[in-house]
Symmetry: C2
Subunit: 191 residues, 2 copies
DNA sequence: TTAAACACTTGACCTATGGTAAGAAATAAA
DNA sequence: TTTATTTCTTACCATAGGTCAAGTGTTTAA
């Protein structure tokens, strides 16, 4: 399936895009490639694009005052990545986004995105549902972080996202789970 | 300001509701009152309504297998409360929502909500932005829970939401912060 | 093909926070 | 006003997970 079609396929899962609008949407996105370890976004810059990953794997993280990286997201094929705050408000980002594999992305600029959302209510609907689900997921993850043990979170992740363990180094998974690599190593040993 | 107008005022902050649509929206919501300590939602039920708090204070929480309550949200005047997953998917909720003060709410049913969203793209836009911001906030809160100390989180909350400390018992604030009431008490003593 | 960088593990020790229990203070109910 | 309930504090001990340091594999790049 060509990259554009994957995007349209996913939009249609939650919304209902007409053929005319499919063409408009498709032409608003630009296909780009990024090599492993290269940055899509660097802290301090405005995040000018919203990205749909057609193939690959990326992480978003921020660097604290001690220079330690903390990972917010690990995203793979057929999902979105950006700094939403920076993208929609056009303010400098505090995050970095980096490719963990050679990746193919479809990107749309803030300006074009705002036009499309105003023009195509069905797209607005898609993103309303997307963010609604993302919010519910974030609250679930928050709760797990607050009240479950690191081992439970590790096991949940292993069950729910086994593919991540095939493609992403454990040091990144540890950070995503909110623990140190040393702790993750001990947890894995215990099993 | 009457309750309906407060709702419209907030919708117009992020979207642009026409006079005709204002009337349609207003008539879709029903004004209800709830007494302190009464439940708006009980775990196991489907969350049939989305609520806009015009006045008052509520909490949403879930009860774990040991019978301990964990608070997700504390919400006051001019904000929304619901279990979004249950409300939009019409599946039984795992949460409870309880009034911490006598409160006034505007509520809308799932059925009416879906109609309105389909009918009024500007409303869809409002909720797209609402959920987008809620998602960004949830990620920020997640990160703080993972990587900041409980004392830092307490101080941040004191600075950002001082009104909550005037209106909500510390035991609930502790749970919201992801710590026990005992820990919160120690933190407050140290200052 | 060798060196450098990265990924992962292990051990010893430390600290923030949890668990339990009990009492004081404040608030609500009778 | 008295009693009951809820909220908050304190003390003591337990523990999950962090920190630091060192060592072993395993990629990556020169």
């Amino acid at each position: 399936m060509p990259e554009d079609n994957k995007l349209i396929y996913y939009l249609n899962k939650w919304s209902d895009i007409s053929k005319d609008n499919e063409a408009t949407i498709t032409s608003a996105f630009e296909l780009i490639s990024i090599k492993k370890k290269k940055d899509l976004l660097v802290s301090g810059e405005v995040c000018n694009y919203l990205y749909f990953i057609t193939q690959g794997c990326l992480r978003s993280f921020y660097i604290d005052s001690k220079g330690v990286e903390h990972i917010y997201q690990i995203r793979m094929d057929n999902s979105w990545i950006s700094d939403l705050e920076s993208f929609f408000s056009q303010v400098p980002s505090e995050y970095n986004i980096e490719a963990l594999e050679d990746s193919h992305l479809l990107r749309i600029s803030n300006e074009r995105m705002e036009q499309l959302l105003a023009e195509i209510p069905q797209l607005e609907r898609y993103f309303r549902i997307l963010f609604q689900k993302a919010y519910v997921n974030a609250l679930t993850r928050l709760n797990a972080t607050m009240w479950k043990t690191a081992m439970d979170r590790y096991n949940d992740m292993l069950k729910e996202h086994p593919e991540i363990f095939q493609r992403v180094p454990l040091i990144y998974i540890a950070s995503y789970l909110g623990i140190t690599p040393e702790s993750l190593s001990r947890i894995r040993k215990q099993k």
